[in-house]
Symmetry: C2
Subunit: 393 residues, 2 copies
């Protein structure tokens, strides 16, 4: 007979989910009400407003999709790409590849602009691709590559795309709440994110926002969106401002309580303070790791503070170390994905995980395991290096 | 400044979400762990086994889709329908219409078999449609029509479909856990359900199960599934038994804790006991409503015990009554959908809502409001009628 499941209490410092704040877990378990209840509809309006703040946008269509980030990605591509559309996809990690899949499954053609994994999108290459493909309709790129920790210049992408009259789709799954995103200022047309990264919320929802230009394209499609569930023409009827809500699907009520709470907390802290907090703890983690002799994959200027991809020291077995961290320290760090599997670790400092306790604990556990395995690292220096960042304030 | 959201405590007797058991809300808020954590993977295996029990199937591919029931529906159609496929869709309410949308968006052709709303699928009409469409590949029907409360003969549908070498897709959103479903015995090939109905769980997940015949068709498609997120060829890599789990998307970890707990509770109660409980409280509610003079939409032999669609008494304003029940009694009952809007109420007795407290409370509140509005009902008799069912045991 299967028993109730009691999960262990982990410290989550992988690529997400990150540590969920207790206030958010508590909000999650508040009494369920109906998805058409006027009180719930009022809360939905607040979620929209709070998401507009988080995304720094006035876009009316700013909502959480009722499914994880991958479904947010698909919402953008399935709605904006019509059969035959050419889409320029900048790939510098795993998620650019997934974008290509999305374009093709929506009947479009993907023109790939490849950059090395661990580097930002090269704007010169993008410009060349735009020049060579004057019929392209959309540029898609990953603002914060979760597989490598590289951050790209969103405003730069938009400027080029705009000159060529293309819409811009941006993957901000790992950036929202952790590093600056300014949707309106940067001119992004369709942006998707996730709840389980820098918002400290549970996984399962995908915040998205769409510009008026994007909505025009969606409303004037020649063919129906191939997904009924993700068709924004229908979803807008449920999330539409003021209007009578039309039943579309049953919203994940409790998950939305949690997202609401996480956004209230972000508002309380202030977006700029949250960005600063992520950067600050990144500096401490970096000081500690570098003191040990562990290096970063991404050049400093292109690095995301909240996702630290670091090279696994020579001769060290990836899975053994992660296994010991998990079993002996209840600490999760992330493995490499795709081409980087076995070569890097991804250490997340996202949302509630971006705090001194986690940085100190992670450095300490890593040093203990690597020291025990006689890995080629310097021991006894990491904690002091991190502490000196904290002492400097 | 937006504050934390504290929902009212409602009694949920609409078409779902139903009342969520406190054990399940508590499970939902347990500490989040990683979606690739070995402890989580172990829990996923248990969820699969428990779902096999709930569906009465040995199907290997029995999993919860990481999104609401509408996405479960789309998972079935997007994976099984290939461009050009002819699908016979039996429609006897709202959800058959949504099936048609799904068929067409997957590039298929829907042959509609229409039955009156509030009636079961007419097998003679289905047989005629199968005879007239020997090239049909799939028959789709709604086992439990949430919009009307009608239950159809799943085994009968399968026997006809099987004779014509068609796969069967069944909507069991409202039936799972509330009224008998025997997937293997009935030969159903693709079945989807929801968590927020008779499983008493929060909304947001969609349990599905696929037969070997269905998997063969999916594995041998000529074209890719148009949805990346719902492509079972990829999802199977994450949920596959024993195999090394391949990252596909980030599972909604906490929602899966809740589903696990709800299925453990179903196992503890026993599936047959759960079916009996739903039927028993339906008898009491029915006795009370009929004593008041309120009649059912669906003929008795075709009625779902857990979803009671009843005619709104002559001259009574639907919205006024539901509004007063919600505001004065914190009680939610459901409105009619589509053609039945304004004409019927849908009173749910699903999962944790199927208990005597709810039946008595609902009858009492309804009588108070309708009495106050001087509606043409008999007062002072409903509670005794319901009690007599309970006294009889």
């Amino acid at each position: 007979m299967v028993q109730s499941f009691n999960p262990p209490v982990r410290t989550l410092m992988g690529p997400g989910p990150s540590d969920v704040h207790p206030r958010i877990l508590e909000a999650l378990s508040r009494p369920t009400i109906g998805h058409l209840d006027p009180m719930f509809v009022g809360m939905m309006d607040e979620v929209k407003k709070l998401l507009q703040y988080a995304f720094q946008t006035d876009n009316e269509l700013t909502i959480p999709v009722s499914a994880p980030g991958s479904a947010g990605m698909e919402t953008c591509f399935a709605n904006l790409v019509e059969p035959g559309d050419k889409v320029i996809v900048c790939q510098n990690g795993v998620f650019g590849g997934r974008m290509k899949e999305n374009v093709e499954r929506a009947g479009g053609t993907a023109v790939m602009v490849q950059d090395p994994w661990g580097r930002a999108v090269d704007l010169a290459k993008l410009e060349q691709a735009l020049d060579q493909n004057p019929d392209a309709k959309i540029v898609a790129f990953v603002h914060a590559e979760t597989s490598t920790g590289a951050q790209s210049d969103a405003k730069g992408v938009w400027e080029l795309a705009h000159k060529h009259d293309c819409l811009v789709i941006a993957d901000c799954v790992t950036s929202l709440g952790g590093t600056p995103i300014r949707v309106d200022e940067w001119g992004l047309d369709a942006v998707y994110s996730g709840t389980q990264k820098c918002l400290s919320c549970v996984p399962g929802l995908s915040p998205v926002t769409f510009s008026e230009r994007a909505i025009d394209k969606i409303k004037n499609r020649k063919t129906k969106v191939q997904s009924w569930f993700l068709d924004l023409n229908l979803v807008m009827g449920y999330w539409g401002e003021g209007a009578k809500r039309a039943y579309h699907h049953t919203a994940p009520v409790n998950a939305l309580y949690a997202l609401h709470e996480s956004l209230v907390m972000l508002r309380e802290e202030g977006l700029e303070n949250a960005w600063k907090r992520h950067a600050h703890h990144h500096q401490a983690l970096k000081a500690g790791l570098e003191a040990m002799g562990i290096g970063f994959v991404v050049p400093e200027a292109e690095r995301l503070p909240q996702l630290n991809a670091v090279s696994i020291p020579e001769g060290v077995d990836d899975a053994v170390v992660r296994g010991r961290l998990l079993n002996e320290f209840n600490l999760e760090i992330g493995a490499g994905l795709g081409d980087l599997a076995g070569k890097v670790w991804r250490i997340g400092l996202m949302g509630h995980s971006a705090r001194a306790e986690n940085v100190i604990f992670c450095l300490s556990a890593l040093e203990a395991v690597l020291g025990d395995l006689k890995a080629p690292i310097r021991t006894g220096v990491a904690l002091a290096a991190a502490q000196s960042v904290y002492s400097a304030g």
